[in-house]
């Protein structure tokens, strides 16, 4: 690949960066949806009576067992077919967000269960009810313990935002395709540039989360947490 080709690619960098902004927006929206839903699902799994807990486990199992693309299609074309006017971006947030909640709920469930039961008893002995115990004793510990596995989930879903390509969201891979179709010789360098952008952003994201973990670190709380090498835990 000659220097000339790379200088041509360089022209498209702003376009690609704008498209990457879509991925980042998608990431933030879906991870927030997944976080809130995931915490709720985890709390249901741990604290609610059996039928409801079983339902939450089934939810988790469904969203973890079905491919992202199938979920994207179900949410986008399925909801459209049912007469809902839904944008591809919003459908992607829902599909990928609920999927992520299936993984995040597992992370939070593990963290919630690792808070020693004696502390729950201590909270009750002070007169705290269930909601206060969850809010002041369980979640502050569980959320801290969740940060390392959650970082894994974070970088995994960031990469998966590209799958929104499948339902027509003009995110970075689709933008790169548009460019490469019109400028065939640029195909390889353009996609290498895209890959490089992901490497940099993933690195920055993990660095930021590492900092967050350090800032929120509490002596004695790290004992139950395990770092995972897996794609996601």
């Amino acid at each position: 690949m000659t220097a000339e080709i790379w200088s041509q690619v360089w022209q498209f960098t702003p376009t690609l960066l704008w498209a990457m902004l879509i991925n980042v927006q998608l990431l933030l929206a879906l991870i927030a949806l997944g976080l809130v839903t995931g915490v709720v699902v985890a709390l249901i799994e741990v604290y609610s009576p059996r039928p409801l807990a079983a339902l939450a486990l089934a939810y988790e199992w469904f969203f973890r067992g079905v491919p992202e693309l199938v979920l994207l299609f179900l949410f986008y074309f399925g909801l459209t077919q049912m007469g809902m006017d839904i944008s591809p971006f919003f459908a992607a947030v829902l599909a990928l967000g609920f999927r992520s909640s299936g993984y995040q709920s597992q992370i939070f469930r593990g963290a919630i269960q690792s808070v020693p039961p004696g502390q729950l008893m201590a909270a009750h002995s002070l007169g705290m009810g269930t909601m206060k115990t969850i809010r002041y004793v369980i979640l502050p510990q569980a959320l801290r313990l969740s940060i390392p596995p959650w970082s894994n989930e974070f970088s995994a879903v960031f990469k998966d935002t590209t799958l929104a390509y499948g339902i027509g969201v003009v995110e970075i891979v689709r933008q790169a395709r548009y460019i490469s179709v019109r400028n065939f010789p640029l195909t390889l360098p353009v996609f290498i540039l895209v890959a490089f952008m992901f490497l940099v952003l993933t690195y920055l994201g993990n660095w930021g989360l590492g900092r967050l973990e350090q800032r929120l670190h509490v002596p004695g709380l790290e004992t139950h947490a395990k770092r995972g090498e897996a794609r996601e835990l």
Binding site: V66, V70, L199
Partner: protein, 226 residues
């Protein structure tokens, strides 16, 4: 929504053809990925210098970038430098290279969790380093790697659906084609989802069975015995 269509088996034969392609794709990329991943992990554990750095850079790159981008590079990018693959082959290559990086990390974790006393004992018997790896380290590491590996299998099965984007008629691709003609997206993709779920369920049970089958008392991932 017409639930009748969901339980009407009319789509099943064509979807099953797609499912077979999906499974071939998953099987091929996992096998290739296991071989390459094992080599990468050995390089990462037992070598220093350029080989180590090369293997590490490989793992970093393929874990740090989206599979879809890797697929695009291989299927649409490589032809610009004269390398062309059939869509199915592009899929196997991209997914194989990708899963190799992840599997390398599982293998590495498993190899490193084999206790160092085991290696010492093997060397004390006069085994060469290669023999030690072959007869002592790998038999233990491969057992430990089954749980994360099962996870990876399910991942690749699901991720294989991206190959429809380069024109492979896998389960996802067939579903896409039928739905585009029938406009029955919801019903069709519910069936597709259930087919993926069924395979995931069967594979999960099969691998649990395998794990119990090759289980050795006292050999655990957590290495609690220090």
């Amino acid at each position: 929504m017409d639930m009748q269509l969901v339980f009407d088996w009319a789509w099943l034969p064509r979807l099953s053809d797609g499912l077979i392609v999906t499974m071939q794709l998953t099987g091929a990329c996992l096998a290739g990925g296991a071989a390459l991943g094992l080599l990468l992990s050995l390089a990462r554990v037992y070598t220093r210098g350029p080989v180590y750095w090369l293997a590490s850079a490989y793992v970093q790159f393929f874990r740090g970038t989206p599979l879809l981008v890797q697929l695009m590079i291989i299927h649409f990018g490589l032809p610009t430098v004269g390398i062309r693959f059939e869509p199915f082959i592009s899929g196997v290559v991209a997914m194989g290279l990708n899963t190799a990086a992840y599997q390398a990390e599982y293998f590495r974790g498993a190899i490193q969790s084999v206790r160092s006393g085991q290696t010492l004992a093997a060397r004390s018997l006069g085994m060469s380093p290669l023999q030690t790896v072959r007869y002592i380290v790998l038999p233990q590491a491969l057992r430990l790697v089954i749980p994360p590996w099962s996870n990876e299998l399910v991942y690749m099965l699901k991720y294989s659906s991206i190959v429809y984007m380069i024109g492979v008629s896998d389960l996802m691709g067939v579903g896409r084609t039928i739905s585009a003609r029938s406009f029955r997206f919801l019903e069709l993709f519910i069936v597709v989802a259930m087919m993926y779920l069924a395979v995931v369920l069967i594979l999960t049970f099969a691998l649990r069975w395998l794990e119990r089958r090759v289980h050795v008392p006292g050999l655990t991932t957590t290495g609690r015995r220090g």
